[in-house]
């Protein structure tokens, strides 16, 4: 048990160190040098995740509205506040966080699988021999791209979820779209909180996943283990960050 804890602490320390190295490289002008890689990663991450986010957040929107309306219907037959409240929750919490978990799953495992394979086939060593630092070449582009894409995909996810919810409310309870799509309850604090969360998730996920990939040891089993570890740690990090940032924005806004 203690051995596992020690290993976990050791890994966490190295992950923070990777974050430090990434930031140092960015300050040393990595963005200009790796422009092509950043664009490539932006395209791949966005492209691969859009359909995924659409399906998952769309369904989430539908179910949430469905279940809430079913409950509320029993207590108070006034559906006018459901739309605004739902939209606010999506912006502040569910949009960024569920999108974040989906990104941790898709992008996180993808990064670990890619980098892990490269470690096992000695491509990372080859990078070093060609005078290209692996953090500079592999991690920085993914770090920047994921941070940006996380925000964009969260915004997109909120739109999809809200739309799906509105359609559900209309189809099953005849709630008109004008009643649903009201931004009465949405404050600037909510939007700021949501965007901050999305960005933090988007920066944490690639670092954690890349670290898992770089720590790969052994053949196919090693790559499988690293990919698993990346998904678990990245997802958990999203949950922890969510708690911290929710608490933080609650305290700040009140």
């Amino acid at each position: 048990m203690t051995a596992a804890l020690a290993a976990w602490i050791d890994s966490s320390v190295r992950t923070w160190d990777l974050l430090r190295q990434t930031i140092v490289w960015i300050l040393r002008g990595a963005l200009r040098r790796r422009r092509r890689q950043v664009l490539q990663q932006l395209y791949e991450m966005g492209n691969r995740s859009v359909a995924f986010i659409t399906v998952t957040l769309g369904i989430l929107g539908m179910i949430s509205v469905f279940q809430v309306l079913k409950q509320v219907e029993k207590i108070v037959p006034d559906f006018s506040m459901i739309g605004p409240a739902f939209i606010q929750m999506m912006i502040r919490e569910f949009g960024p966080t569920i999108a974040g978990l989906m990104i941790a799953t898709r992008v996180g495992s993808g990064i670990a699988a890619e980098i892990g394979s490269m470690v096992v086939t000695e491509q990372v060593d080859a990078l070093r021999m060609c005078n290209a630092d692996p953090v500079d070449y592999l991690v920085v582009p993914r770090f920047v791209a994921c941070g940006i894409q996380s925000v964009m995909l969260s915004v997109y996810g909120v739109l999809v979820g809200v739309l799906a919810g509105a359609v559900t409310a209309y189809l099953f309870w005849n709630v008109p779209f004008e009643t649903f799509f009201r931004l009465d309850l949405v404050q600037w604090g909510d939007i700021a909180s949501g965007l901050l969360k999305a960005m933090c998730y988007g920066l944490a996920i690639p670092v954690i996943s890349a670290q898992a990939g770089l720590e790969t040891r052994g053949g196919s089993e090693g790559v499988g283990t690293s990919t698993t570890r990346a998904v678990v740690n990245a997802s958990f990090a999203v949950v922890v960050l969510d708690l911290i940032l929710s608490g933080f924005s609650y305290l700040v806004l009140f």
């Binding site: 000695e122 060593d125 070093r128 060609c130 005078n131």
Partner: protein, 245 residues
């Protein structure tokens, strides 16, 4: 040019090198042989600083590489060219991009010159015109040759070859070894780790036999043939009687 002093190292918890002392002199092609194991690949990685030893030092051109900082290590590696056991070609880049990569990273070569040198190198290794292909479209022998092109494009003086003929048919293996001979820099060093004793005989000037993690024998071909050491005799006899791996 390269000197290893009292080198000890482990790989994934197992000790593979124990108090190894080696000196590789300028101008030689050295063959490192030995039964199975990972020690030989680890030795190559220790030479170019991809791994750190548990004990001992590696001196390159009389500089202890452990004393080098990040930038120092970078310029050290520019003096090396390495052929990895599984080619380690970047599978997300074309052949041309792979071979050009080392030159692009050092940053002081204009694009036209890079292109020219890449083409020249590919012609040298017999793969003219293959710049736009991807590694997955190549055969094993072709991938090996692309790796050699990439390893030698920056005119590195120290060339490390990790099992260059592994998994290749006899004809291609012979081609690879004659390439090793041709690309050898008389002012530099080539280190070849292999099990292919027969082909190494025509190419290597000096031999190092590693056994149980230690240096068991060092010497030229004549010394090998005259050695009365049982381990040496068994190894070279078995190997050159066509029993080589």
């Amino acid at each position: 040019m390269i000197e290893a002093r009292h080198l000890s190292a482990s790989f994934e918890g197992v000790s593979v090198l124990d108090d190894v002392n080696i000196r590789v002199r300028k101008g030689t092609i050295v063959g490192i042989v030995g039964v199975g194991g990972v020690g030989k690949s680890v030795l190559l990685k220790l030479f170019c600083g991809l791994m750190t030893p548990e004990e001992g030092q590696v001196m390159v051109d009389d500089v202890d590489i452990a004393s080098l900082d990040f930038d120092g290590l970078g310029s050290l590696r520019q003096r090396f060219g390495m052929l990895f056991q599984n080619y380690a070609l970047f599978d997300f880049m074309t052949v041309g991009e792979n071979v050009a990569f080392p030159l692009e990273q050092t940053g002081d070569c204009p694009p036209e010159e890079i292109q020219a040198r890449v083409s020249e190198r590919l012609v040298d290794v017999g793969l003219a015109g293959s710049e736009m292909l991807y590694p997955r479209e190549l055969s094993g022998g072709m991938k090996k040759r692309v790796s050699m092109a990439r390893a030698t494009i920056a005119n590195a003086r120290i060339l490390l070859y990790d099992d260059p003929s592994a998994g290749l048919d006899p004809v291609t293996s012979s081609k690879i070894f004659s390439l090793i001979e041709r690309l050898h820099d008389p002012n530099g060093v080539s280190v070849v780790v292999s099990h292919d004793i027969d082909r190494m005989i025509g190419v290597c000037h000096e031999w190092i036999l590693l056994h149980q993690g230690r240096v068991w024998f060092v010497g030229g071909l004549e010394a090998v043939k005259m050695s009365s050491d049982p381990v040496v005799a068994t190894f070279f006899d078995t190997a050159s009687q066509g029993g080589g791996v």
